[in-house]
């Protein structure tokens, strides 16, 4: 009896091992998934024949695509709605895999999977300089030549195109983000404040709020790595205004960070807010969610963040949406005002996608750039920025703060530095946290940022470092 049990166990073990090794290859999963879904697919196909007008060419029943992304919350639901619409349209099946919502972590996961040949069929990726980390020429399907690429606006297509080969790698997945100051209009009205156009005016407003009320002048959610970096990264608009080639020259080590006055002002601004006591008592405990709610309720007057804050407000304090307004992060003079933007991350298609799935995957990429899929997206969340697609208008219910922020994108804007240079040390968030809580002066911080970045550049093997 014992022998029998041992043999059965061994057999089971071997079988499960074999299962493990094959599940890694996308081909097998597709076949398995396909077999499971045929029936469901047949059903959908049946009641679809009359409904599908623009894409009657698409019938992919029996095909399963694996999609991985690192988005959470409403936007993740919006993706699901898009995928459901595609499934209904084509009979294909989409399996979603959620990666870590920490950008560095999910990026790392994808890189490791790229190195071991385990990438999903489609995945969400950061774009700009970071796109290079995953060696797009080896791993990402070149979309150039697809006629539907004209759906994507030029400024986006530009940063996802390889300048040398002309290869186009991704399509936008979400909406763009605009960084600036979000303020509570009621507080501003009650206290009779004007919208500041210089940093001095901004500080003067803070002072009035501090002395004239119990309200925190500027909510600073330094609890997370992303919350602590926004103000500093948003300053990049003024940096590139001072020197349009800043990122390029820095990557080539032709200049030092501390030489740029505009760059230093980013640190000074954070330090000012701490030194003059315009933040809440313990910024390190303040989460982004709490800060958003405080802004909407008028417990805090201002918050330097990105337009995605409006999605958080919509979820947690919807009654406060109309109280919130937007103005650009002020700098030294009122003539050069502008905003920094984050381009939406994109969907990348696996270059080594199995032949039988290729057509379906391309169809999904095309579908994601159409108004039809954006409609599905908007059923789940109100967009907080531009989709970067031609012929797609923002719905009517977009908040006024987002509209105001978008109007600055056309007037004066620049994507943040990470789209032009990937050099960024592993301690950036910590260093900024220390500036924002008074442990470092801007001068101490810049020395350490430079050292930290140098190590990162050396590790990336960037020439000249």
């Amino acid at each position: 009896m014992k022998k029998f049990a041992a043999i059965t166990l061994t057999a089971a073990l071997v079988a499960s091992l074999a299962g493990c090794s094959s599940s890694g290859t996308p081909g097998t999963t597709a076949a398995e998934g396909g077999a499971k879904t045929t029936e469901a697919a047949k059903e959908t196909k049946g009641n679809e024949t009359q409904g599908e007008q623009p894409s009657g060419k698409w019938d992919f029943s029996g095909i399963t695509l694996n999609v991985a992304h690192s988005t959470t919350g409403d936007v993740s639901d919006a993706f699901d709605a898009q995928f459901a619409a595609f499934e209904e349209l084509t009979g294909a099946k989409i399996e979603v895999e959620h990666l870590s919502s920490n950008a560095d972590e999910s990026e790392n996961t994808l890189q490791v999977r790229a190195a071991t040949g385990n990438l999903p069929d489609l995945w969400q990726t950061s774009i700009g300089a970071k796109l290079q980390n995953i060696s797009p020429q080896d791993n990402i399907y070149d979309l150039s030549g697809q006629e539907w690429l004209s759906n994507i606006v030029d400024s986006y297509r530009e940063i996802v195109t390889d300048k040398e080969t002309g290869a186009v790698y991704v399509v936008p997945s979400t909406t763009s983000n605009v960084a600036g100051v979000f303020y509570n209009k009621k507080v501003y009205e009650d206290m009779g404040l004007e919208i500041p156009e210089t940093w001095e005016e901004f500080l003067a407003n803070c002072e009035k709020i501090k002395t004239g009320s119990e309200i925190d002048p500027c909510a600073s959610p330094y609890n997370t790595p992303s919350g602590v970096q926004i103000l500093f990264l948003a300053q990049y608009y003024y940096v590139q205004n001072e020197n349009p080639d800043f990122a390029k020259q820095y990557t080539a080590k032709e200049l030092e960070l501390h030489e740029s006055e505009a760059y230093m002002r980013g640190l000074t601004k954070m330090y000012d807010l701490w030194e003059k006591g315009y933040q809440c008592e313990d910024p390190l405990s303040l989460t982004f969610e709490d800060a958003s709610v405080q802004l909407a309720n008028g417990e805090a007057a201002m918050l330097v963040c990105r337009t995605n804050v409006m999605a958080t407000v919509e979820e947690l304090a919807p009654e406060g949406i109309d109280n919130i307004g937007f103005f650009p992060l002020p700098d030294k003079d009122n003539k050069s005002l502008g905003v920094a933007t984050w381009m939406p991350p994109g969907w990348a298609l696996n270059k080594n996608v199995p032949a039988e799935k290729e057509e379906c995957a391309l169809a999904l990429m095309e579908f994601l750039t159409t108004g039809e899929s954006i409609d599905a997206y908007c059923t789940k969340t109100t967009p907080t920025g531009a989709f970067m697609l031609n012929g797609v208008d923002l719905p009517d219910n977009v908040s006024t703060a987002v509209i105001e922020a978008q109007s600055w994108v056309d007037k004066a804007s620049s994507p943040v530095m990470e789209y032009f240079s990937d050099i960024k040390g592993s301690n950036m968030a910590t260093i900024l946290q220390m500036v924002g809580t008074g442990d470092y002066t801007p001068d101490q911080a810049i020395t350490e940022i430079e050292q930290d970045n140098a190590i990162d550049a050396q590790q990336k093997g960037i020439a000249g470092w």
Binding site: D104, Q451, I455
Partner: protein
Amino acid sequence: MNKKRYPMWLAVPGLLIYITIFVIPTFASFYFSMTTWNLKSSVFTGFENFISFFTMTSTRSALINTAIYATVTCSAKVILGLLIAQYVCSGIRTGNYLKIVVFFPTLLGNVVIGTAFQSVLDPGGIVNQALTGAGLPVVRFLTDKTIALATCCAIDIWKGLGTAVIIFVAGLSAIPRDYYEASAIDGATGRKNFTRITLPLIIPTINTVLTLSLIGGLRDYDLIYTLTGGGPGYSTEVIGSVVYKLFSRGSYGLATAGNVILFVIVSIIVFPLNSFVSKWEERL
């Protein structure tokens, strides 16, 4: 018995597994720690990674913090663990119940504990509500850099004490009752029993707990990382969290170098400590 009972080739499968999952990765990591590496190609750079690692500001704090964290948690686990085990084994009626209570935190994952304590110790969390209710000021357990590391230590002790107690209980119950009976006849009392009988006989167990919790403390990062993320500033940065941050930034070569350094530190401390305790045991 001259004839071997099993042929040597029976060791081959085990040896193969051992070599592929232990020996090769270990030596590979020694090699990659001396390169800049993007997972696909690597460039040999000699000892540059080790120099970079030690010049980083975060590492200097991390080395000190790791030393403090490992020493404090390990000694607390040994001392408190032994005392609690002694109490639990002293024949009190609630002994078994106490064992379970003390062991319970060990069942929870580090990340769960970290996340839970983050909200419990928040300035608006229940601990601070209790403090303000009692008329005391709010304590920023995790965001005040002077006490953040102490908070992490305390939570780790709370979590790891259970394992120590269980090992000590096993060690204590292995001591034959005869010794105590004999000493009772000779008129020895509680304290003498402890220093002359219990302590000498429990030293192998102390050695085990000491080694395990010291290694654990030196390598620990997940609890600290979920509690504070290494902050505020570098005040709770440990080698593990520095390595983690480097890995997630894609600096694989440098991160591997950090791991090799951690490996060397653990070996340098643990092996001599082990033989020191064994010698101490012989002397007693």
